[in-house]
Amino acid sequence: MDTTASVRVRGLRKTYGDTVAVDGVDLDIRHGEVFALLGPNGAGKTTTVEILEGYRRRDGGEVTVLGTDPGEGGREWRSRIGIVLQSNADASELSVREMIGHFAGYYPRPRDPDEVIEAVGLTEKAGARLRQLSGGQRRRVDVALGIVGNPELLFLDEPTTGFDPEARRQFWHLISGLAQGGTTILLTTHYLDEAEALANRVGVIAAGRIRAVDTPAELGGRATAQATVSWLADGGRRSIHTDTPTRTVAELASRLGGEIPELTVTRPSLEDVYLAMIGHDRSGATGGPQGRSPVETGASQ
C-alpha cells in the first residue's frame, strides 16, 4: 500500500444558507485502501463526498483528490475517478452492453465492457434493455458504469441499498476484488456489516464533523472494550460487563458446577460503537461501551 494520500481534506466547510452541513472535516484516504464513511442522514456525508467528486463547491478548507482540487478537475482528472451515485432511475432504452460500451468510450484506458459485465454478474442480461432490469440488476449496471473507466479512485455511495443478502455478498466479493487490484475506494453506507466486511478503515461523521477514524476492529476502543458475559439463570437472562471475561466464565462454571446455560461472550459490535458515538453526539452526555461499570445486571428479555 502506498503511503501517500489519494484524498486529503483539511478544514472542509460547507453551508447551505444558515445551516452548516460540513463543519471542519479533516480526512486522509491512502492509496489502495478501502475507506468507509459512516454517519446518520444529514450528518454531512453526502455533501462531503459530493465535494470530493467535484459536484459541489466548498465554502472553505483544502481538498486534494488524486493531487487535484476537485473544483478545478478537468477531463483528465475525471478519467481517473469512478463515481457510483446513490440512485439512478433513468428508463433507458439501451441494452446493458450498449450502455456500458458507450460509457467505456468516454475514457482513455477503459476496461473491456464484456469483462466488466461479467464482473458485476450481468452476462446473461447483457442484451436486455436497462428499463427491463430489476432494481438490484440496475444497481449493478450503476457499479459497472463506475468501474468501466478503470478508475484509480472509486466513490461508492450506498451501493447495496435494496440488495438481497445474496446479491450483497456477491457485491462485496466484487469490491474486494477491485481493492486487491489496487483501486482506492471511498464507500458510504448505512450497513455496518458492510463497512466491517470491506473497509480497511472507517470514519464516523456526525453533525458535520469527523468523530473518529480507525479500523473497524479498533473503532471506539472496541477491541479493548468490556466484554459482556451472558447466560440463562432462573428462567431469565443475566449478564455481566467485565474486563476479564475468562475469569468470569471460570467463576460461573465452578459456581454452576459445569455447563453454563446459553452462555455467550460478546464485545460491542461495530454497530454498538457507532450508535454510541452518534448518541453521544446527540445527547451531549458521555457514555458508550467503555463507560459501563462492571456490575452484574439482571436483565429481562
Binding site: 459536484y55 477531463r75 478519467s79 451515485l85 439512478n88 468516454y106 475514457y107 473491456d112 478503470n150 483501486t183
Partner: protein, 277 residues
Amino acid sequence: MTTAAHVATRPAAALPSLTRLSLSRTSVELKSFFRRRESVVFTFSLPVVLLIIFGSIFHGTVGHTGVSYRLYFTAGIIASGIMSTTFVNLGISIVLEREDGTLKRLAGTPMPRAAYFAGKALSCLVIAAIEVAIMLGIGIALYGLKLPSTGGRWLTFTWVFLLGVATCTMLGIAVSSVPRSSRSAAAVLNLPYLVLQFISGVYFPFSSLPKGMQEVAALFPLKWLCQGLRAALLPDSLLPAEPAHSWELGKVALVLTAWLVGSLILCLRTFRWQADR
C-alpha cells in the same frame, strides 16, 4: 483496450476526441428515441394530423395573391413541427434526464459537456429532417406543394432549416432549466409554444393578425422561421401578403442567429447538471 487491472503509474493515453464523443452521443440519443415507439409515432403524427385537419377545414386563397391557403399553412406547420420536436420535446426530455440522475452521472464522467449538447443538436437535426420530409411529402401529395424550384430556393430552404433547428434546439436546452420538475415541464414548455404558434403566422396569414400581435411575434423566432420557409417553398406571388412585401431573408437570418447566440450563452451560464435538492 486494456484488460489489465490498473497500476499507480499508468502511461498517458489520449482522451477521446470531442468529435468522436459527439457522434457517439448522437447515436445513443437516436437509438433511445427510435426505440420508444409511442414517442416516435406521436412526434411524427402530430403535425401530420394538424396538416390534414386544417387542410380539410380551410380552402381558398391568401388575400388576392392566388396562393392557396393550404400551401400557406403547410409551410407554417413545417416550421411549428420543427419547433415541436426541438424546443418542446427536447426541453421536456432534458428535464426528465435531470430529474432521474442521467445528467448528474454524465457530469461525473470525462465526457466533454459540449458532446452532450452536440448529441442533442445532431439527433434533433435528424429527427426534424425526417419530420420535414414527411410533411413535404403530404403537402406535395395533397395540396399541390412544389419542392424548391431553383438552386437559390434550395439554398434558402437548407439554411433556414439548419438555422431554425439549431436555434430551437438551443432554446429547448436553455428553457429546460426553468421547470422545477418533470411534472410541470410540459406545461412550462407548451405555453410559449402554443402562444407563438397562434401569433406567428403558422395557421393564419401573418398580415391578417392584429398589428400589436404582429409586433410581439416579430420578437420571437417562430415568425421568422415560418417566413423563411415560405420564402423557400411558396411562390413570389405571395409577396403582397407578406408584412414587408418582401421575404426579408436578411432579417430572418439576423433574428434566428440572435436567438441562437442568446440561448447558447444562456445554456453555458445556467444549465444545471443536477436537480435541486
